[in-house]
Symmetry: D3
Subunit: 246 residues, 6 copies
């Protein structure tokens, strides 16, 4: 009845956050959800996109990408193909929207936080790991700006953001799917939520099938419990030193 | 208390389906949700994408696009920009996934149904109108193939698919948002479901805010009621002649 | 001796203009030449291209495109291919040049009229239908600007512009070729002219053959007679209400 | 009354053909019309485009381009811009169509002649010089194939093709416009015709103006007389040795 | 007189190789030269490029890229820009050429080793670190193929390949330049060589200056000594376990 | 023992410079190294790239390209492929760097010299011929600016720049390789140097092999002797009239 990796249905994979993985960005975190490893960086850049100029407001943008060597079979490099694929676009937009839900953009002035989530190794749930790790990198970048007196409001983060995948595999609702479960799931849902249990984004997808509303409810229960655990882990990780050299 | 267009909170806009709008595709439907007009075409093409060759299975793919003149302010043409935008990619993928949920791809043999949803006029809810209209075009394309004896299974559609948007506007849950409501909604959700009430896709998004689980439930209630009405309208539309000249 | 659709050699197909097809652009006309249907929109946008800045003159630009579902066999979407094809470029430039011949660009100030001609259904002569319909959309956009007091000269249109195709099919000069005649024509000519019979553009092409000067003359005779009829139809269409909601 | 360069209205600029300018292509001709210099190469390549495979017929394709240093002000390189411009596309297509009018494609078998017209220096009339020079390069390529016994029909060229520009400048019809006349011409026409006086392509354009049919006739008279002279010059050039080392 | 990081002029930065950094590719090595960190992966893929088909020979190709967050100031993502830059192309080609110098391509049969070098953190010398690390990843991929009996010749590596940068900074020849030295170097040279002291590639560049042949000699002396040390380190790293889970 | 073209190992091919080949650029030189012909143009353009604005310094940029008809087998046009290839990028950057080594950019003010090197015919050594010819075009452009009083310092060229290829073919070091030698060379080196014998750029490459340091020395000896001859030829060419019409 147990899963291939021995976990219970509603159990997360081992999760780690390595802060200060890179020295240049204001925040840099290597997040691992089991075999999924995503390098999340939050860089502060001057100015905002053209459509936002003169508003006095800052911006947060995100880009997600996957190293060619991150997947079971080597995947083609999007720079070489000359275009960003639909899946990449979709995930980049999701990460940006999710993080903007917790950040007061007025506090930044007309500056942008650019979040880069580069998947070093993919084993399912890369987008949810990316969001969960990117929140920690964002918190580090906010601390970096606060120390330099560059924030109008010193506490611009109104809540924590974390995300997890959940799905129906062989008729059972399971949390935090690795690749081998994800590939055969009947339903796949990604949930982004806050540390106080409110929702930011719910995306539940059935490819070639449909699912009942009670299944939706069971998936949400599992995901929200997982997210509560993840936000505790974020707090624990952020309680230590940043790992950034002075 | 009422909405700008006089509707009640859980009321759909006037919906029409004009079948046979174009003569060349196997199915062609102009769908209107109030001021939103989307031309949905289902074309049958020989062969399948490379990764599917030799499987004996067919495929269904979808492309969504917007005429430059469809929006309040003229928008730039993606062909001229030389790249398809992230939003376009995201919606195209959603339409394809949604329709594949009702179609038995074995029945097609190694052939592809290409669904094109071109927005002629945009007034909110273009993606949900597109899915709802595209189902009707798909049903016409299936009938076209059936008449020609080109289906292994004469009934490859297992259910109907329809979609609607729902959101929280000024603190009230409202169904089928026009542009002016959509632009100021606190939460925006798109629901794709079947005529038997099962879910295909749920995408609930809060930009710069979060929402409670009870709000999610209220939005789902409203959306599923709206979809029940839409699937009835689809049946009524499909009961008449196809509008296609012989 | 007669044509497949029963027309005489120098007879036009049934032509209709549906003004106000879209609500957002200043002018929007669905033009039909038999089975050819082109949606022509004229949008007013602030500013002019960079090379024209500071001149005090306005500009008119045009873009032509074809829906994938408009053709007998579905055609690929240029946005997805990532480049605009040579034929599309050529026709877009022709439409722009043709309409600029009748418009006093000084009257607009430094503003641009963007003309979009999107072919909803193709049955030969799409470029000439586009020009003929786009003139009507342009006239509506000019009226829109005039009503708002945004024209330096209230009558910036010096003449009407219309266009028609003519060709040699099976040795006979024929007007307004549908697809099945166009595909087997020995010579194909597109003529753009004014309501006073002067020429704007003549493009006569023989693919894999040549033609005599007397054939050129006969084709011009037929085309100019057709254009005289088309400009009358334009006047009749413009005499009614614009179809645009206030 | 005379033109800046002392020519009469219906006089061509000095024209030269340097055959064998390059050693690799089967035909290579540097053509000069006054200050306009175009390098025309005709290369024989194995195979035909995909849509023509299995037909047993050959193909001829053409590409026109301009060196950045060819123009008065340096122009940007299209390879660097990452896209071929509309004008370039339009001219490439014209050259290909024009040359296909004289060539029996059955004779080639399933092989392609690729014609490259690269403008080394631009002083008006580059497209007409390109066509006129490309015909000579094509004749050399045909001779090259004939010598190697690679033609089904040893005489696949049914006629000669030449082209010239003509325009109305300051109210006068003038032949073979250099850049300074072209830039201020009221009407501009390009005519492609054969050595027996039949027409291949007529493109007469008025930007921001219109012209009468009698002007069209006068322009055609001048152009056809010019083309008669050009085809004599082609014959004279082809009468000598090819300039190609063995 | 000493360098900012306390090194002597001809001393390397601390160098580490972490084998098995990723689980999916046949070889995966994180190489560090001081603050420069490059993830090098060698993936085995079936088949060879089209121009090599039927030769019976394998191929090795390389792609270099930099994470946006790797540099002092965040750099734009090449996939988003839609084109690979000149510097990236140049380095990718250098890595591929360098590794092909040590690999007997006959041994692979018609298969390709794809080497990906992704810079996680940049502090000067990224291309030379990439080559040095990629050799180790290649050796691991070769071992992987050997274990599976997929090599015609079990020892297809004829030598080791390593690389280092050397330059003239403030008039002194210095080895293995970090970013702050590289940015102000008068001459910059990259040397690729083997463990037996023969040269693979020498690229010595002076931007805005020139250098004498005796300086070239002094730079080569320093580089070849550095490479001798690097090849010892490679051997030591390869002597341990691969770090790859079974 | 002699080479196919009868040259001794250390002998250059016949070299010619045709100044004033084009009339529009400030400097235009057709350089020929045997069968290799490159058209080098130096155009003066107002302004500098964005990253250099406000510095008071000028810039020199270079673009290299090859006509499709320049090679033995016709090559595809990069504008049509929509991207500049890696080899093209690499050579363009080399030419720019090499010429900037001799030019005092302060002298230009904030203006740019754009150098275009278009290969009309390729027979080995196109990049080195391009650099050698481009120097002469640059000298002509500098004289052009000097005559117009547009140089802060009338002698902004500190030295001459020339380049030559050298390689090991059949075990012998040979200078200035034509295509048939280049294609089978074991080692290939390009050297850029000044008229006083200092080095600008050394690029020595072994594809699928390695070479000893003594071979490197022998190649450098040969290249520097060749470059001494080339700089004499440049001086002789520049001693005559510019070939540019007033």
């Amino acid at each position: 009845m147990n899963r291939a990796d021995g976990r219970a249905d509603h159990e997360l994979r081992p999760v780690t956050f390595t802060r200060g993985f890179q020295q240049h960005p204001a925040g840099s975190v290597l997040v691992e959800f089991g075999g999924t490893k995503v390098l999340c960086a939050a860089s502060v850049t001057t100015g905002v996109p053209r459509w936002r100029k003169g508003s006095g407001l800052g911006w947060l943008t995100a880009e997600y990408a996957m190293l060619p060597s991150a997947t079971h079979e080597r995947s083609d490099r999007e720079s070489v193909k000359g275009r960003v694929g639909g899946r990449t676009h979709e995930i980049s937009r999701l990460i940006g929207r999710s993080l903007r839900a917790c950040l007061d953009l007025r506090s930044l002035g007309e500056n942008t936080i650019a979040v880069d989530c580069d998947v070093l190794q993919a084993d399912g749930g890369t987008r949810t790991a990316a969001i969960t790790g990117a929140y920690v990198a964002l918190a580090d970048a906010v601390a970096y700006l606060r120390e330099r007196g560059q924030l109008a409001d010193p506490q611009p983060l109104s809540c924590q953001i974390a995300a997890v995948s959940v799905g129906v595999v062989g008729g059972r609702v399971r949390l935090d799917l690795p690749y081998e479960e994800d590939a055969r799931a009947e339903v796949d849902m990604n949930v982004v939520a806050t540390d106080v249990g409110t929702l930011v984004e719910v995306q539940g997808t059935a490819e070639g099938a449909t699912y009942s509303r009670s299944t939706l409810d069971a998936m949400l229960d599992s995901a929200l419990a997982g997210i509560a655990t993840l936000t505790e882990m974020q707090r624990a990780a952020l309680a230590g030193p940043s790992g950034r050299s002075a």
